[in-house]
């Protein structure tokens, strides 16, 4: 079988795959406790130069603490952090070669946009002519040329966000830390800004580390994502790998929409695994091999868009084919998500995405319709944890 690749590839940039690449940022067995609460638990992570890396997780998962330790605002309880080969222990924030863009932007309200951007450069005692040139360059990069003389309170939210970005990039840091940088923007602006961030990162060739709870944002901008939970890394991989091959129920559930089907291993072979759904007895055949033994309980995770749905009724017992009854339809415009009941219980629901490719449909799927759902042998993943 030809080796398929997972998902689209944004750019050919995979330093983490070659073992001779030195990491640019390294967390080595880092633990951070606040009293009894363990915010970061013995975590090790390598981030490479020019990488756009995302720390993704819910609130309280330790992602912000991890970033603040890199910036120097928190001191690790134990463990070491390296940046470009230098141990950061004992180095105060104002001497670290990283800059941070704050969630609240933290723009100095008493200074104009230009002065805000120049603030860091003045601390470095750069010659005045160079400061002026650098500020002008940052204003151009962030399309803020006309707003240089304004005060932050005279700007819109999106403009403030760009000032914050310009200010944190002005010193040409080795690493730019972005703490929920787009959280305060509305959806449209956020999507535009995500692409601007990516372009900026490629243009400046700076390593970006972004903290976010928004999985779409992380998937859009990042080369790699670290999914965090309770102070530990659950999975570190590219967006496509995280989405298509989650390594646990937590990741599958956290990223995107997923059908989580509890099943028992019925048969294992070199060609894959055969599962039987616990609740409803339908058969799933997967080309994936599993460590679980025959008779063990596992989870089969399949994304709604991997499930094909047609009206009608199929033969029982055919692998990867499930009969159902339409229970709910969510019309989202581009797609509809169809919830179908496949068993006796009200929560035996399989969700399938139906792409609305035509504007007019002769016989649309309706509530209470009988439907057949089917999927390929490589459509889902078998999860044991």
């Amino acid at each position: 079988m030809a080796k398929k690749s997972i998902g689209p590839v944004r750019r050919e940039f995979k330093p983490w795959e070659s073992p001779d690449h030195e990491p640019f940022i390294e967390f080595r067995n880092v633990t951070k406790k606040f009293g009894e609460f363990v915010a970061v638990d013995n975590l090790s992570l390598k981030i490479y130069e020019r990488e756009f890396f995302a720390l993704l997780g819910g609130s309280g998962c330790g992602k912000t603490t991890l970033m603040r330790m890199l910036a120097g605002f928190e001191t690790p309880t134990s463990g070491q952090i390296f940046l470009d080969g230098q141990d950061l222990a004992g180095i105060p924030p104002f001497r670290r070669p990283s800059n941070m863009m704050f969630q609240s932007y933290a723009l100095f309200p008493h200074m104009s946009v230009e002065k805000n951007i120049a603030f860091g450069l003045k601390q470095d005692k750069l010659p005045a002519s160079e400061i002026v040139a650098r500020v002008a360059e940052m204003l151009r990069l962030t399309k803020l040329e006309q707003f240089g003389k304004r005060k932050p309170h005279q700007l819109s939210g999106g403009q403030r966000q760009r000032v914050a970005l310009a200010r944190s990039l002005a010193k040409r840091p080795k690493v730019l830390l972005l703490d929920e940088p787009l959280g305060a923007l509305d959806r449209k602006l956020r999507e535009e800004t995500q692409f601007e961030l990516m372009n900026l990162q490629e243009e400046l060739e700076v390593t970006f580390l972004i903290v976010t709870h928004d999985q779409e944002e992380a998937m859009t901008v990042a080369d790699r994502i670290a999914v965090m939970d309770k102070g530990t890394l659950v999975q570190v991989a590219t967006p496509a790998e995280i989405y298509e091959t989650p390594n646990s129920r937590f990741v599958a559930d956290f990223i995107g929409d997923v059908n989580m089907i509890e099943a028992k291993v019925a048969e294992k072979s070199g060609m894959g695994t055969r599962l039987v759904s616990v609740a409803d007895g339908f058969v799933i055949e997967s080309e994936q091999e599993t460590d679980a033994g025959v008779g063990d309980s596992v989870w089969y995770a399949i994304r709604p868009e991997k499930v094909r749905i047609v009206q009608g009724r199929g033969q029982d017992g055919v692998p990867n084919q499930i009969n159902g009854l339409v229970w709910d339809i969510a019309y989202l415009g581009d797609v509809s998500i169809i919830h179908s009941k496949v068993g006796e219980n009200d929560d035996d629901i399989i969700r399938a995405t139906f792409a609305n490719v035509s504007r007019m449909v002769e016989k649309p799927i309706m509530w209470e319709d009988e439907v057949v759902m089917s999927f390929d042998r490589d459509a889902g993943v078998i999860l044991t944890g």
Binding site: G72, P93, F94, S98, F102, S104, A106, F108, P109, R167
Partner: protein, 308 residues
Amino acid sequence: MKENIAAPKRRSLGAWALIAAPYLWLLILFLVPFLIVFKISLSQVAIAIPPYIPAFDLAEGWQAFRDNLSELSFENYIWLTEDDLYWKSYLSSVTIAGISTLLTLLIGYPIAYGMARSPRSIRPTLLMLVILPFWTSFLIRVYAWIGILKNEGLLNQLLLALGIISEPMVILNTNIAVYIGIVYSYLPFLVLPLYASLERLDGSLLEAAEDLGCPPWKAFWKITLPLSLPGMIAGCFLVFIPAVGEFVIPDLLGGSDTLMIGKTLWVEFFSNRDWPVSSAVAVILLMILVIPIVLFQNQQQKMSERDG
């Protein structure tokens, strides 16, 4: 800022009454008394009850008022410029108030800063402690300082006992005692607005400054101090304005050579029974204070515009 897009509705009688209330209050309790004082300041002193000849009698009607208007005499005001006691008193008052304000700021800033940086849980207690002195009469608190500052008072006894000084210092009845009294009495008026502006300061601004390469002590000068300026200005005016006209503190704690306009006014009014001149003194005092008050108002307005 865009609320005024809504078409202005015709205001009801109740709304007018509500708007009129503060103006009515100012009219009755500020403008009318001021006009009375102003009228007295234009009259001549006499041995009578009350001890002045009115410049004009309102009871005589409009015609009499107009007749008198043409022969109004500002001789009391001219007198104020002729005797150097008055301008010296004004100058000395402004100087003493200015120095006291500066001292209050130097002491009050660290207090307010410490309060704003203290754990959130103890802040209400600290705030209480700042307000606590108000629960005792102002007069009694100033009197208490006599017991502390006099030659055989608590302060001298303590310093003697500790061997820091060999003979009692003369503090009471000097300008130093006045400074101490003003700083002590007006400290809360400075601490409270300053604390309010320091507490509002977003901690991430200081982190951002530090992140951009600014050491914490420098960030204080570049960020904290400029951003607490509105609170500082408000607090300083709240100390300076009443301190200029202060009477009780210089009278109780100051010496015979402590020259303050409040004392001069009191002497003029009660000892010399010269109501017209003392009224003129009061009017000029108000004029002097109107300048900082207008500045203060301006500042407040700018601040609310920025926040809005």
